[in-house]
Point group: C2
Chain length 130, copies 2
């Protein structure tokens, strides 16, 4: 694995650590580690800017899906200051994965996330957009 590949894999690993962090202190610490101070997160349902909004968003999603965790599907595909990867939201109880998506991140010189552009590949039928 090259130094550059490490760069993307490590940034994506910190991103998943944030989404799966339990407890407000661990979550705030993980968001600090993953995102640049003015970093953003945007997906079809949310647009959060800065650590405070990102922490609040992740906490809200976690409380909407208790007993689920985020898991990468496949490796990160990175170049220059950007990388793409896909993920599933997996039930720790039965392994079902009702939600899946693909994200593109951009990184700063310290490998912190400046922006996430997130897209949904699979959503529960009752939540589909009209």
């Amino acid at each position: 694995m090259s130094a550059n590949t490490d760069r993307y894999e490590n940034a994506v690993a910190r991103y998943f650590e944030a989404w799966n962090a339990r407890g407000s202190e661990a979550l705030a610490k993980a968001v600090d580690a993953a995102w640049a101070r003015d970093g953003r997160y945007t997906d079809p349902l949310a647009d959060a800017a800065g650590h405070e909004q990102i922490v609040a968003l992740i906490a809200a999603v976690q409380s909407q899906f208790p007993g689920f965790s985020f898991r990468p599907t496949g490796a990160a595909d990175g170049h220059h200051d950007t990388a793409r990867f896909s993920w599933e939201l997996v039930s720790e109880k039965d392994g079902s994965a009702p939600v899946a998506g693909s994200d593109v991140i951009t990184l700063d010189a310290r490998d912190r996330i400046t922006a996430v552009l997130g897209f949904l590949d699979r959503v529960p039928a009752e939540n589909r957009e009209a």
Copy 2:
């Protein structure tokens, strides 16, 4: 099709018009129409900033693949100021498509592209990265 869907589809249509524009005048005009003045384009092989660099990049790719054109595969999937879509580089002679990719674009308030983050899904065997 909603006004917002139109916004993404129109921006993506202008993007393909630029990639397929023939002749330097038509290409410059199409890049002007598609990208914001300080817009960027980044993929695994290229990183271009501003209209002049983007025009030069597109002209170089066109001369590398004479008789090919870019075609979207599927619809644009947009939200907020971003959209994703996939494409193929198709031979006008035999319909073969040796190169395919997926791009994520961000738009400004005038629906001009501020950034393209491009990724390759299929490349000719001799061009694969080691």
